[in-house]
Amino acid sequence: MQNFEINSNQIDKIKKITTEEKRFRIRNLEFFKAVGFPNKKLEDWKFSDFKDIVDRNFEELDTKKVSSNINKIDLLKDFDHNYILLVNGNLHSSNFDHEEKNKIKINPYDKSIDYEISKNPLVCLNHALAENGYSLEISKGYKLKKVLVIYNLFTKDIKNRILNNKNKIRVNEDAELHIIDYNIDESKFKFINNVYENIILKKNSKLKSLFIQSNKSDGFFHKFLKNKLSLNSDYSNLIFSSGLKFNKLDIECDLIEENCRCNILSALFLSKNEHQEIKTLVNHLAPNCKSNQKVKNVLSSSSKGVYQGKIYVKDIAQKTDAYQLSKALLLDDNAEFSSKPELEIYADDVKCSHGSSSGSIDQDSLHYLMTRGLSRKDSTKLLIKGFLNDVIEFIKSPSIKKFVESKLEQQINES
């Protein structure tokens, strides 16, 4: 790709920033310019050579601002919900009619994010240029009555753009929030969405997050999630992001106080040449915390799935219970699954385990189902759904579960 240059004066155009923030942005931009898009020589990108992917898919790219005008949006009718509408990453509107409105604060991107220096060039690019996104805060003790759907709408204005957005979610003490991140891509173009998200869970709080999209997308998505879990907080992230051309979710969870629980589960059905990576780093920094990661991929055609999962246990994090498992079901000889589990443990009284397996459809199971009159196609579909089922079972709300199942069905049928 020839045409991609970022001029430093782009940062000058960002309004209302302190000298310190400006310096931080320039430093990040310089780092990005020196390294460029991450390639496979970087250990964290060894299975997803983003530079190569960009070179192959884009002739030009730019970081100019995009319009966030829309005529209308079709809201989900499957279940009652609150919503936030993001258009090309910009906070467009929100609706919390089901809730006590003074308990919820929603604002455009919050500049007070605690920035951390990152070695991830895409995070640096985001730190340098991000101006949009949202900041959400749930008051102490408030439990939302209905799920919050975050509509992430992409319009036709974003052809060949890189959108850098920053989001922040803060769930205060004893509060509870259930989110569905719902992508709708109306663009039909190639673009890059580069998101940095910061999640802060205070004492006894709970956040359930689910990621899914309405339709297939030619977008290239990268999201870095930085989560901090305090005493007795409970975080779960369910990933059903099938249908994206490229997606890398880089999730870092710091379990900074005792008795935190962290669940990261994914059920993906990838087809054609889709490429998805889930990379995790779960830092057990305090005793008695529990983490559970389960990544399930069904891969057809020439799709590629990647899981890089690391569990770090600090010396003081005794009685840690950490588990990770990745399983892949390969439907085609050209499909590929790469897994790199890592454990780094400095405490001596812990329970940590990991497992990884990949294989094809079991022919005996297929035969069994077919002897009951199901066609080969239907039997295969049933086995695929069965394979992904234990992640779906994690959804407790029947209406949301039904919604996810129907989306998954659609994804399998479209392949």
Binding site: S365, Y368, L369, M370, R372, L374, S379, L388
Partner: protein
Amino acid sequence: MLEIKNLQASINDKEILKGLNLTIKPGELHAIMGPNGSGKSTLANVLSGKNVYKISGELNFKGEDLKKIPVDERARKGIFLAFQYPLEIPGVNTNIFLKTSLNSIRKAKGEKELDTLAFLKLVREKTSELGIDEKTLSRQLNVDFSGGEKKKNEILQMKILDPIFSILDETDSGLDIDSLKIVAKGVNSSRDSKKSFLVITHYQRLLDYIKPDFVHVLSDGKIIKTGCGELAEELEKTGYKKLN
């Protein structure tokens, strides 16, 4: 119903069935007995359409060459195999699987597909007829089922799918007397002038409850003796050695 002439089947160049002949007419129940390794399960697998064997000879089902018909289509034509070792299918709900299965068979027969309510009514009817706990069907297909539960589930599937030709591959093995009675009840209550059965068993015990029209002895890939119910009793006393 079924006509087998000079059936030969081999796997990895190992010949298992070596010229088997068998004719089963509508309404008949045939039992096949025989020592381990004689080819009983291979016969069941070949009839169900398992695609791992090299096959020659004639295999006609209601006038059609069965060899040309794939597994799922055989099921839709009314052939059912109760497996010796039913497979565990994690994540697949038994009810949903059975409903999909039944409807694909009904569709092939030109019958109306059943909605959930009508299906559950049918399930309730069949489970209570056999004395099987209905809850079994809300579990994942055969997952964590005991050996007996798996076998009973096969018979329940047979009752719900209502085939015209059922093959029971050692369904009685490993069953206690109560479960054995359930299996026998499943078969006996299905018997009529149109439906046929091929029951593969090691023990005469099952044949105390299911009365066969014919008993065949399969040995080294061929049927070496055919008789009626008394043949099974005789085998129970003398074993297979005397026949060879």
